[in-house]
């Protein structure tokens, strides 16, 4: 057996070992009285009124609302990348005091590092954690395969389509094996077909890994297609107005009648809220 063959065989054995190895499942989250105010030219802007929210381990929760409703702010606070003005976030019962690799935030612009290829992007978090290079490469390969980017390991961000960038970003997040995925309108800039395709992939990954997912969107059908629960936000001031439990069977189809009806109901609530807000500010 040549050295090359031996190395390949070794890598294959480790890859199989990894596949058997269980990934970290989701943890619970508790948001207790979290609010956020900004100071803009002397006046105070209430971005988010005090919010209370419980998320069970492994639950898929969608934050739905128009822009300016504080849903992304809340996600950043849960990620520990932004400070709450008041209140506390608990992850698995422990107070969140800053960013941590147990909660990984995904962005609308994917935020792949353009100076690294896909492989090295996916390895980034592992490198920070001090995982040895060989092991890093094996883990990264596994997740690149999982998001169907095999063959693009050496590609750079500018050579990928928007959908492929998001796949790579998902692989980069999963490689760290977080307990919580915080997705901030990750598919907002993609075309409808690519988005639908990625929905089923995210659903499949979530089913397989049972991680806790918080998914921010302004697309009602997206929220209903993905979430166990949809939390509806309203703007000015940002606040939670309603919650919907989505008991539709999975995997879900966007054409499913139950899904369409549910989306219509939620859209009605959202319209009502926006209308009331319009009246409220017109005096």
């Amino acid at each position: 057996m040549s050295i090359q063959q031996q190395v390949t065989a070794m890598a294959q054995r480790s890859a199989i070992g990894l596949r058997k190895e269980r990934t970290t499942g989701g943890i619970s989250l508790r948001v207790a009285g979290v609010s956020k105010t900004f100071n803009m030219r002397g006046s105070t802007v209430e971005a988010l009124q005090p919010v209370d929210l419980e998320v069970a381990a492994g639950e898929f929760v969608c934050f739905l609302g128009p822009s300016g409703c504080g849903k992304s702010t809340l996600l950043s606070i849960i990620a520990g990348l932004e400070q709450a003005t008041a209140g506390t976030v608990y992850a698995n019962g422990k107070e969140v005091r800053g960013p941590g690799t147990d909660r990984i935030l995904l962005f609308q612009e994917a935020a792949l590092f353009p100076w690294l290829d896909v492989q090295r992007n996916v390895e980034f978090g592992l490198r920070q954690a001090g995982v040895p290079a060989r092991e890093r490469a094996i883990i990264a390969r596994k997740y690149i395969e999982m998001v169907h980017l095999k063959g693009f390991e050496r590609s750079h961000s500018h050579q990928l389509s928007g959908g492929m960038r998001q796949r790579a970003a998902i692989a980069r997040a999963l490689a760290i094996d977080p307990a919580v995925l915080l997705m901030d309108e990750p598919f907002g800039a993609l075309d409808a077909m690519t988005r639908d395709h990625l929905h089923s992939e995210v659903e499949a990954i979530w089913s397989a890994t049972r991680k806790t997912v918080l998914f921010v969107t302004h697309n009602v059908r997206e929220a209903v297609a993905l979430g166990d629960r949809v939390v509806v936000f309203a703007p000015r001031p940002g606040r939670i107005v309603r919650e919907f439990h989505i008991d539709l069977p999975r995997p879900r189809s966007l054409e499913d009648h139950g899904l369409v009806d549910m989306a219509a109901e939620i859209l009605g609530v959202l319209r009502q809220e926006l209308k009331e807000e319009g009246h409220g500010t017109s005096h």
């Binding site: 960013p99 990984i104 962005f107 353009p114 980034f124 063959g151 590609s155 500018h158 760290i176």
Partner: protein, 271 residues
């Protein structure tokens, strides 16, 4: 998908290629006309030939200077000074720019000083260099360092300040901090602006080195220029000026232009 990408790249480069042939032809024609005018003027008898050599005399000097190796030796001496000095300012400039860009107090103090010194033409450092280091190799290198340092520092500073916040958030979220955050995220993210600073720094360093070499009389490009003046040899002055221009253009097109193009493409700026 990969194939689609490949074909677009080929198409683009083909278009650029065919376009540049027309450009090259026009440029060649322009320089032939320029040489003809120069030749006619130099041989018109208005000025004596020792004040205004014609292109044939310049090319003879150039060929013999390059042929007997002493121009090459001068080029090596000047390039060596440039490489050492530039290397030093690269290291200092990267660190200084990173500190200024990341720390408000350093920015308010050292940052303002660097901004002020940047306004100083780099040839102004020559008298100080000569006083401190005497007529020596160190003085030449000092001039190069001072010529390049502030441009590089300010380039790094600008790049660091304009790092897209989303990269920083993603990196911090994935556990990057301290030196790893600086070297693996902030500096690479700043690379487009850093290269602009590097390019400007190199131009300033090259210019001030040529000025300094007029004074320090050992074999170098600047000294050959000064030697031409002392010997009333305009052919040599022209020849060395051509060498200096060619060296400058060569470094620009062989080092900085490809680097800049590569980074701009990879960082996703349309060009």
């Amino acid at each position: 998908m990969a194939q689609v990408i490949d074909t677009t790249i080929t198409k683009n480069s083909e278009r650029r290629w065919s376009w540049s042939w027309g450009k090259i032809l026009r440029q060649v024609a322009f320089y032939i006309i320029l040489l003809l005018i120069w030749y006619t003027l130099a041989n018109s008898g208005i000025w004596p030939s020792y004040l205004f050599s014609d292109p044939t005399a310049v090319s003879t000097t150039l060929v013999s200077g390059l042929g007997d190796g002493h121009y090459v030796e001068a080029i090596v001496v000047s390039m060596r000074r440039l490489a050492i000095g530039y290397g030093i300012s690269l290291v200092i400039g990267l660190m200084l720019g990173l500190f200024i860009g990341r720390n408000r107090y350093i920015e308010e103090t050292i940052g303002s000083l660097v901004l002020g010194l940047q306004a100083l033409p780099s040839a102004c450092w020559i008298p100080l260099g000569l006083l401190w280091f005497g007529l020596s190799e160190q003085a030449m290198i000092f001039v190069v360092v001072m010529g390049a340092l502030f441009s590089i520092t300010l380039g790094v500073d600008a790049g660091v300040k304009n790092t897209p916040p989303v990269y920083l958030k993603a990196a911090r979220n994935m556990g990057a901090s301290g030196i790893a955050l600086s070297t693996q995220v902030i500096l690479p993210a700043a690379l487009p602006a850093i290269i602009t600073g590097l390019k400007q720094g190199w131009t300033f360093a090259w210019r001030s080195l040529m000025a300094a070499e007029l004074i320090y009389q050992t074999l170098s490009l600047g000294t050959l220029l000064e030697g031409g003046r002392e010997l009333n040899d305009t052919a040599q002055i022209f020849a060395i000026m051509i060498v200096i221009v060619v060296m400058g253009v060569a470094i620009d097109t062989l080092v900085f232009a490809p680097l800049e193009r590569h980074v701009r493409e990879r960082w996703g700026f349309a060009n």
